[in-house]
């Protein structure tokens, strides 16, 4: 479905006020990967890592500086219009609906822009109205919708023309827990029922864990991970943190198999590998324990670790 080979994008930026200096910024550096039909794939990386730039090259928005891209068998920037009929895209921070028009009118205009056959349009809209519960605000102008409602509208807009492939750039950004859940269910639904290939960028570990089977991680323009999530955790996420609240402040604990990372009054942070039970018992021997908590590394932390391992 997607083939990417040694894909790069660089921008020339001019810096300085008087003596303008040309600086070449390499946003994406020679990345390669393939995506099969029907995959639900997470694309992850810190801000400015090159996620959006990659998606923009895949959708034909940006022309690559070098390398090869093929999406649904087409070169995105050369055959943009043809490709646009076959893909859907949603950018969490852009609005593709008409600001002053009721949601239903936006859908109707998109139907004509994409030339969706009347029966397909009716069937799709009926389905999405049900799954995303659009009915209460279908006649409301888009500018009056809440963020959650608008995102549901945007998702519908991206799916009305039966795309084979859906690109989502931060679809759950800023949403509350309930709205996030609804969006995730919708994505799983279209992926399973319709076989739509989904590629989504996100900052949200929850999105990745609940949705994706495969993960791409990019950092500073380079692809640093391509594989399953369980594998990723196993390899880089095995180090956890035990947070203990003690009865009174004590000097940093000295315990075998753990390292104190931080001390804040009676609270201490210990990094450790392996089972937590042994460690907890050992801590209890050393000091009087009031409460404890174990934290898993978040995805940003894992990404940092992969990156430092890569260096």
């Amino acid at each position: 479905m997607i083939e990417v080979e040694r894909l790069s994008k660089q921008f020339v930026v001019r810096r300085g006020r008087v003596r303008r200096e040309r600086v070449v910024v390499k946003a994406v550096r020679e990345i390669s990967f393939n995506v099969a039909r029907g995959e639900l794939l997470g694309y992850l990386g810190p801000n400015g890592a090159g996620k959006s730039t990659t998606i923009k090259m895949l959708t034909g928005i940006l022309v690559p500086s070098s390398g090869r891209v093929s999406v649904a068998g087409l070169d995105p920037s050369r055959r943009r219009v043809e490709l646009a009929r076959r893909i859907g895209a949603m950018f969490g921070q852009r609005v593709q609906l008409w600001w002053d028009l009721p949601l239903a009118d936006s859908f109707d205009l998109l139907r004509h822009i994409y030339r969706v056959p009347a029966d397909r349009y009716r069937a799709n809209l009926a389905r999405f109205r049900e799954v995303l519960e659009l009915d209460p605000f279908l006649q409301t102008p888009v500018r009056q919708l809440s963020l959650g409602q608008r995102i549901r509208g945007e998702l519908t807009a991206a799916m009305l023309h039966d795309p084979e492939l859906l690109f989502l750039d931060e679809p759950t950004i800023g949403l509350d827990v309930v709205a996030k859940q609804r969006v995730r269910e919708f994505l799983v639904d279209i992926n399973r029922e319709r076989g739509v290939t989904v590629l989504l960028t996100t900052h949200d570990l929850g999105d990745i864990e609940r949705l994706c089977t495969r993960l791409l991680v990019i950092d500073r323009g380079t692809l640093i991970w391509d594989g399953g999530i369980a594998e990723l955790r196993e390899r880089y996420g095995s180090e956890r943190t035990l947070v203990v609240d003690l009865e009174e402040p004590v000097p940093p604990l000295r315990i075998e198999g753990a390292e104190v990372e931080r001390v804040e009054g009676p609270r201490q942070w210990l990094r450790f590998h392996g089972p937590a039970a042994d460690l907890t018992a050992r801590v209890a021997q050393e000091a009087r324990l009031v409460d404890l908590q174990i934290t898993e590394p978040d995805i940003e932390e894992i990404v940092r670790r992969i990156y430092s391992a890569g260096n």
Binding site: F11, T59, I61, E82, A84, Q96, L109, R115
Partner: protein, 267 residues
């Protein structure tokens, strides 16, 4: 082609409906646009209050130039004037949205942000047109009628092309609005007057580089059966449609080149 026009009407119709929901605001906008352009024509009348002719042109002849230029410009403004707002789309990256839809980007820009209130200027231009014709008392030959009928759409294409080329700059500068305005709004201002009163370099610029002399000046020479005070070839009086086609081709090419240089915005 037909389908594109139908879709354009649908897209623009939806925006017009939304704008007409605020009737009072719309009426004020329309009246404002009319009054501003009305004052603009007063400036011409003030000139002729002090001098009987401008070069070889009398008040009604200049009014004809003014009307041809203004009406064409007003329709251009109505059809593509929202290209003014386009640098904003480039700056905030919302141009991305247009690129993932299966239509030409220029078409989509033109079909969005339509402002019906810009019609006010066309109403004023039409009024000046009536004033000019009533004062000129022309003998209506088929040639004259045809020239006037062809001139307006031709001039709209020329103006629109200049506008599009100007807008292309914002792909590089991300904010070239004011520079573009010098050619569009500034251009109509020049086209409202006979070019033979202008300095030679400016005249050449208008005839050959930014072809605004074909918007009103050359067609008006034919309609008024007036020898060109500059002695330029008579053929130029009929060249406007060709110039329009050439301008449109240049604009199309410039646009496609510019889109390939689009850099989007972060986030």
């Amino acid at each position: 082609m037909v389908e594109s026009v139908v879709l354009w009407r649908r897209l623009v119709g939806a925006q017009v409906r939304a704008q007409l929901q605020y009737r009072v605001s719309f009426a004020l906008d329309l009246t404002g646009a009319f009054l501003i352009s009305f004052v603009d024509f007063l400036a011409v009348l003030v000139i002729f209050h002090n001098v009987p002719t401008l070069g070889t042109w009398n008040v009604h002849e200049v009014a004809l130039l003014y009307a041809l230029s203004t009406v064409s410009f007003a329709f251009t403004d109505l059809l593509v004037g929202h290209l003014d707002l386009f640098p904003q789309k480039i700056r905030d990256g919302n141009f991305d949205i247009l690129l993932v839809r299966p239509r030409s980007t220029l078409y989509q820009v033109i079909a969005s942000d339509f402002q019906l209130r810009r019609l006010g200027k066309a109403i004023q231009g039409t009024a000046v047109f009536v004033f000019a014709l009533q004062g000129l008392q022309l003998h209506w030959t088929a040639g004259r009628v045809a020239m006037l009928v062809v001139t307006i759409p031709t001039a709209v294409v020329i103006f629109a092309s200049v506008w599009v080329v100007g807008s292309c700059l914002s792909f590089w500068t991300t904010d070239g609005g004011e520079f573009t305005n010098a050619f569009t709004y500034g251009g109509t201002f020049l086209a409202q007057y006979p070019i033979d009163i202008l300095a030679v370099w400016l005249r050449r610029f208008l005839a050959y580089i930014v072809p605004l002399a074909f918007v009103a000046y050359f067609p008006a020479l034919y309609v008024l059966d007036k020898p060109d005070p500059l002695g330029l070839p008579t053929a130029l009086e009929f060249a406007a449609p060709l110039v329009a086609v050439a301008a449109a081709l240049v604009a199309g090419t410039a646009w496609r080149t510019a889109v390939r240089h689009y850099r989007s915005a972060g986030g």
